[in-house]
């Protein structure tokens, strides 16, 4: 039989609880910091920290602290030495010779040599491996044969001595050095990869300024500084990445001083900007991204340029940016972000509702139902409704179809949508990255060209740019390609979103970078 409490017992239980609770409250505090560590917030648990497998931003930004590539980017987006202290490029633009530093040490104490670079690159291309990032290295000659299993090594990767490695490309590809700054081109130690097998993803070992000490999944990652880092020892003891999915929770943690830097969520933007007046703790940087409304150019109604133009004239992008988006971005002048464009921006036509209505009539679109595919992100839902409003004024009836992320992605990759709202974020900071994947006709679908835009002249211009050896020549082709694209209106070009962060006043030497992978975490401290 269960013993049942009588009143005296109940009173006793109550008394105990009421005594214990305040005791616990007194003993606890809201403080949650590790002294000397810089505290960051990330939204999600990184899926993997194996450079071969990383495709997400969170994984990439942490991997940047743990690993190094042959080259990296500086704040001005210039390619600078990393593991390679210098390099030569042959006249024809196909042979890259890298001279490696002799003082690079993995955090397991072994010295790095050219063989490690070769191993790491072949690991990405390995037919038995499952790296989704093969495209980064497949321009090296012999890579394709190796990927098919026809060859036991990549013929275009040649080690001349332990500190010199040659990469020979199939054909010249001007942004190749940019590709080598990416996460997948980081160098990993073979013995650790073999020791951990599939679990290397959670036990990464590299040569970077930090070492992973602890990864409590869905809780935090602790990185300690690497005392033997060839690029100098980090100013802070270490970095702590707290995994906090909810924005409002992150804000609370920040206000309590448990986080040193957070990116400012849209809902808090106005309040934080107001509170920051005079304090200068908010930093912002135009991100290398483009937000756009894409048309499916491969089928009616938007295979007709008149229909695409009608939509682009019907929407007041500037007004949406200024009001709804609170100027958290800069207006796009084309697909390429302004910081990457080294030529005069194309001029996009202004909002013209009357002309838009004429075009709708002329294209025979009046009253036609058009599907706009979006994700379930609340901000995107609002933008879609604003677009719907503008297009209704122009005589178009838009049906918003909201899908959850993976269904949405499948739908737009397969070309099911008439229009869709999406953004493109740079893999590497080169105009080519905003042209080739997004507009070249060989990349329809999941490779990036989700509008299925096809223009042979544009294809030729992009290819010519890829093959050019001088910057001037390259920019010439890219400028022409961008101009032709803007005239064809495969997108309504909206804006480039600005990254905005806020930090504690105790933090020193903090700076915001245009791409997450640029930040090695060396300078920031207290």
């Amino acid at each position: 039989m269960l013993g049942l409490a009588n009143r005296a017992e109940i009173r006793f239980i109550l008394l105990t609880i009421s005594l214990l609770l305040p005791l616990c409250l007194l003993a606890c505090s809201s403080n949650d910091r590790i002294a000397g560590y810089v505290h960051y917030r990330i939204n999600y648990n990184p899926t993997t920290l194996d450079p071969a497998l990383i495709v997400d931003v969170t994984g990439g930004l942490i991997a940047a602290k743990l690993f190094n590539g042959l080259v990296r980017l500086d704040e001005t987006l210039k390619v600078i030495p990393d593991i390679a202290e210098s390099w030569d490029i042959s006249q024809d633009g196909t042979t890259y010779t890298f001279h490696l530093r002799r003082d690079v040490r993995f955090s397991n104490s072994r010295m790095m040599s050219a063989a490690d670079v070769k191993y790491s690159f072949e690991r990405i291309l390995d037919p038995r491996g499952k790296s989704p990032n093969t495209w980064i290295l497949e321009k090296i000659s012999g890579a394709k044969a190796f990927m098919k299993g026809e060859d036991s090594e990549v013929s275009g990767i040649k080690i001349s001595d332990p500190y010199t490695i040659q990469l020979i490309l199939e054909k010249p590809f001007s942004p190749f050095l940019n590709l080598l700054t990416m996460t997948a081109a980081y160098v990993v130690p073979q013995e650790e990869v073999q020791r951990w097998g599939e679990d290397f993803a959670s036990h990464p070992v590299g040569s970077g300024p930090f070492r992973l000490m602890e990864w409590k999944h869905n809780n935090h990652l602790l990185l300690d500084r690497n005392e033997h880092y060839f690029g100098g020892v980090a100013m802070s003891t270490g970095l702590r990445y707290r995994i906090i999915p909810e924005d409002i929770t992150a804000i609370t943690e920040f206000e309590l001083g448990n986080l040193d830097i957070i990116s400012v969520p849209a809902s808090e933007y106005r309040r934080i900007m107001k509170a920051d007046a005079g304090k200068n703790l908010v930093s912002s940087m135009e991100g290398i991204n483009t937000y756009y409304l894409g048309f499916n150019c491969s089928r009616p109604p938007f295979e007709d340029i008149m229909a695409r133009k009608a939509v682009s004239f019907a929407i007041d992008r500037k007004r949406i940016l200024e009001t709804f988006y609170e100027n958290r971005g800069s207006l796009a002048h084309g697909p390429i972000p302004d910081i990457l464009r080294r030529w005069d921006a194309p001029v996009l036509p202004d909002y013209d509702p009357a002309y838009a209505r004429q075009l709708v009539e002329a294209a025979g679109l009046k009253g036609k139902k058009i599907q706009l595919y979006i994700t379930a992100d609340p901000e995107v839902v609002d933008i879609a409704e604003i677009i719907q409003f503008y297009l209704r004024n122009a005589g178009l009836s838009v049906m918003i179809k909201q899908l959850e992320w993976s269904s949405y992605k499948a739908a737009i990759n397969n070309g099911e949508a008439d229009m869709f709202w999406i953004s493109w974020w740079a893999d590497y900071p080169d105009p080519e990255n905003f042209l080739f994947p997004l507009f070249h006709s060989s990349n329809h679908g999941p490779s990036g060209n989700r509008t299925r835009y096809t223009n042979k002249a544009v294809d030729a211009l992009i290819e010519a740019g890829q093959k050019s050896s001088t910057k001037k020549e390259r920019d010439h082709y890219y400028r022409l390609a961008e101009k032709a694209i803007v005239e064809d209106v495969p997108w309504v070009f909206f804006w480039h979103k600005t990254d905005i962060t806020v930090r504690q006043s105790t933090l020193r030497n903090y700076r915001i970078y245009p791409i997450y992978s640029l930040d090695k975490g060396l300078e920031v401290s207290f």
């Binding site: 403080n31 495709v55 495209w135 409590k216 609370t252 992320w405 990759n413």
Partner: protein
């Protein structure tokens, strides 16, 4: 139990296959070639027929495995083993708060029916049932973390991290328990046997604590059992708000990314837990209520 589990694996497997969306697109990121997509599809076995996939999964289960996550490559069994204790702890803490207070307040409300105490408690329980956790949780965080600075707003770990999510999670159950207990006790008060007890000359304390309390327990146990069972399947919202590393958040992330092994694993574990909880509740009935005893001595 075994046929039930087989049925569950079949249903959950069919449901995940019927979901729209494709995990491959999330695995490969924003830029990939058709060859890579095909390769990954082969890798995760998505190119085989559904029946062969199901057979493969059942074979895996029989070996005591739940597969590896498509994204993290970590074993689902290990992950569940890490996260389930957290969920259990949170569920248990919420229950420790909800059960005694719910019953006690419900009892008080019934004893003082129509009086101020009853009205206040009824009001509180109505608001407790109606307040969504993403709201009550944030209010608690605002008060205890930001204003009073006594509890950390998020994280998984010691007791201090547990308090806020546990209170948040307990509120709806607490409110339900107050209402259920109140109604049951009120019903019981009008029963013949209570009047008899009173006529026998028993004190009010004895009547309340033995005769009424004991009989009121049956519906209360049902509610507790159901609530606990659902807590053990993870409280997605509470876990997300407070950054608690439980099974609910794990399952949710799996669902968003179409990480089938994770979804299946969580569903399966969840079902087993739920079935077990029902079994435990039935056993408890057996002790509390002589009427449901199968081989009772007082039959």
């Amino acid at each position: 139990m075994i046929p039930l589990l087989m049925g569950i694996t079949f249903i959950t497997f069919s449901l995940t296959k019927a979901l729209p969306g494709d995990p491959v697109f999330s695995i490969v990121g924003e830029r990939s070639s058709p060859e890579i997509i095909e390769k990954i599809r082969t890798e995760i076995g998505a190119d085989k027929s559904v029946i062969r996939q199901y057979a493969g999964y059942v074979t895996l289960l029989l070996q005591g495995e739940l597969g590896r996550s498509y994204y993290t490559n970590r074993k689902v069994v290990d992950e569940v083993g890490l996260k389930f204790p957290n969920t259990l702890l949170l569920a248990f803490a919420a229950l420790v708060i909800a059960a005694p207070f719910g019953v006690l307040f419900g009892f008080i409300a019934a004893l003082y029916k129509g009086r101020a105490a009853d009205k206040i408690l009824t009001m509180l329980s109505v608001s407790g049932v109606s307040m969504p956790v993403f709201w009550s949780g944030l209010l608690l965080m605002l008060l205890f973390s930001l204003r009073l600075k006594v509890l950390p707003p998020s994280g998984t770990g010691g007791l201090q991290y547990l308090v806020l999510p546990a209170i948040t999670l307990s509120l709806p159950a607490l409110a339900t328990l107050i209402r259920v207990t109140r109604i049951t006790v009120l019903d019981l008060m009008d029963m013949q046997f209570i009047r008899t007890a009173r006529a026998k000359g028993l004190t009010e304390t004895a009547i309340n604590s033995i005769h009424i309390m004991k009989n009121a327990l049956i519906p209360v146990i049902t509610v507790i059992g159901l609530e606990f069972g659902s807590y053990l399947n993870g409280a997605v919202l509470t876990e997300t708000i407070f950054g608690w590393d439980g099974i609910g958040r794990y399952a949710m992330e799996g669902i968003i990314k179409r990480d089938y092994p994770v979804i299946m694993g969580c569903l399966l574990i969840g079902t087993i837990v739920f079935v077990l909880m029902n079994l435990i509740v039935d056993i408890v009935y057996h002790y509390v209520d002589p009427r449901v005893r199968l081989h009772g001595t007082d039959r």
